[in-house]
Symmetry: C2
Subunit: 365 residues, 2 copies
């Protein structure tokens, strides 16, 4: 058994919480190594329950890992593990990262500049239009739009990002052999071509209700912030918001009318402390810190330097030199408002024209 096989089997015992799987990996020093010990040790050293150990042992004995790998290959699905260098950085930080991701498309370093846009399946015209507007705006800032490819808000967000020519990531609540909802098969292909479709679930997993909260932690985990556009009080988007908050993500919500069931959940989120936002710029302003710190830490290397600057980027760029300048001074000197300046700085970082130094200071690169 090689490491990839071991990971896929560990992942196939899907009801074992990934936080426990993480502990096993840590305890035994690797995926292969987990299966080099007896189930008894999983309970003792690995702190699985007897029930979990039984299920994992069963997966080891019955899960047809080679067939899974073959079928994945045939379907053009890459199986990525936590050991892979391009495993999403944001997702590494959560409490219970997936040990395996099934991926169609590619994950890029700049996907760490991601915002989740989620909401009701039974969205209103208002919700769909707001989702489109915000996703398009995020796309124009160079952010990756993450969502769940569900009907309604999720679909609107993915489509707006695609239309803007931006990257978007869809996270499935089923295996790749059961794309759900079926009418989104085409969308799935489009997303895979200009972003990525991800699933934590073995290929033949059905879109069962219990998968969706599990999936939602990946949607929020991939993102720096979670925007809930519309949600009834029972909407899964509220779960994404809660998980996001637990993961330390900023949570944003769009206000709506009192008489709209689809706004009850978002209005509730706002009452409970989510940022109420009425423009994408406000989201960016709130996230600017998180986004810029990252940009400074490790600028995406994939982007070629020397990309021409837009007129607006130029306006900001000319106030920079090789002495660190604080963002407040940059805003003042360029006469740009903070949200716009943060967006442009981000774009300039992605173009390798600007570098951030500690203390929200920037220099021309």
């Amino acid at each position: 058994m090689n490491d990839l096989q071991a990971y896929v089997i560990l992942n196939a015992a899907i009801t074992i919480p990934k936080s426990r799987v993480g502990r096993l990996l840590e305890m035994f020093g690797g995926a292969k190594e987990v299966f080099a010990v007896r189930p008894h040790d999983w309970v003792g050293a690995g702190r699985l329950t007897h029930q979990m150990a039984k299920r994992l042992d069963e997966a080891r004995r019955t899960f047809r890992v080679d067939e899974e790998l073959r079928r994945a290959e045939r379907a053009g699905v890459r199986i990525m593990t936590r050991d892979d260098a391009d495993y999403p950085q944001n997702l590494r930080e959560i409490f219970d990262p997936p040990c395996v991701l099934y991926v169609k498309g590619t994950l890029e370093p700049e996907d760490k500049f991601a915002v989740a846009v989620v909401g009701s399946r039974g969205a209103s015209y208002y919700g769909l239009s707001v989702a489109r507007d915000f996703a398009a705006r995020f796309a124009s800032f160079g952010l990756t739009v993450v969502s769940g490819m569900a009907r309604g808000i999720d679909t609107a967000a993915h489509r707006a990002a695609l239309d803007a020519g931006a990257r978007t990531i869809a996270v499935l609540g089923s295996g790749f052999e059961n794309i759900y909802p079926v009418e989104n098969r085409d969308l799935c292909g489009q997303i895979a071509r200009s972003g990525a479709v991800l699933s934590e679930f073995p290929l033949d997993t059905a879109p069962l209700a219990q998968n969706f909260p599990v999936r939602n932690r990946i949607v929020s985990g991939l993102s720096k912030g979670v925007l809930v556009v519309e949600a009834s009080l029972r909407s899964g988007a509220l779960i994404t918001a809660r998980l996001g908050a637990e993961q330390g993500r900023e949570v944003f919500a769009i206000p709506g009318k009192l008489s709209c069931e689809t706004s009850d959940g978002t209005n509730d989120l706002i009452k409970n402390g989510a940022h109420m936002v009425t423009s994408a710029e406000e989201v960016l302003r709130e996230l600017a810190g998180a986004l810029c710190v990252d940009a400074g830490r490790s600028r995406p290397a994939a982007r070629p330097a020397g990309v021409p600057l837009t007129e607006e980027e130029e306006r900001l760029f000319v106030v920079l030199n090789d002495e660190p300048k604080h963002i407040d001074a940059i805003c003042r000197e360029s006469a740009l408002d903070p949200a716009r300046a943060a967006a442009l700085l981000l774009q300039l970082e992605l173009k390798a024209a600007v570098r951030q130094v500690p203390g929200r200071m920037f220099i021309a690169a």
Copy 2:
């Protein structure tokens, strides 16, 4: 010149801020006394500007106070001064209370349990319906609904309170001889019959734009909290909200759609710290402290004791005895939620069946 005449003249110099008039009254020991000194003393001891002193002197010389008093009497308008015992208690507390109120109808001690419901003149169907719902609910809690009798939200709020048989107070931005808008003359009469219509302005004052912010401080000043139902970014209701906040009133706002101009102002209020509310109960819960403290301090004496209790009041009343009981315990024992319990306790206080003692404790009276 008697005190009433002096007050009316002081008030007739309407451009002198009422905070300055208040200082004059304090300095010279009464309204009559203000006119016993020379204009020069108004500047020195009273700290009026020379311009203000000139205007006040002019009012003394030219304002036909006896005719004003006669015309008021003929129109059934009472002129109340700050010295009157039934001058509204909440209004006494503000920085710049009116020195004179022109009143049609009656002011009652229980009017201190008041909430302002204000908003756009060009309200949407949504806004009008929310205004009606909230005003009706406030009325059912026994609260007095205060507003500005403007078109739109104000009118809807007054009408809902009237329909519920509750007290409502309208504050005019003009004198009583220029009721505005004209289509509200009937409404004005109805409000006067089951509440009060107030104006700070001399009888023949036109509804000039500059009067409305001045009027708005009375709307908020009369109230324990200000609810803004709908407002564009230029709406006068935002001024009422700001003045209310400056007066220490709780400010509440109803969320609305992003695409609605009439919700831009309310959404902005929420972003800037107003309580976002989706039910009248939430307003009551927030105000419960302010309302109950007052109820304890001086129970309205006008209400006869021995009024029969409703079934729900009875349910709360039976858990009380002559040992002080904390509101939390009352909620627990009566299985009523805090908002409802606070509303019922308020009603029971008004019926003189319950008395509050310090520390949010209650005893059967």
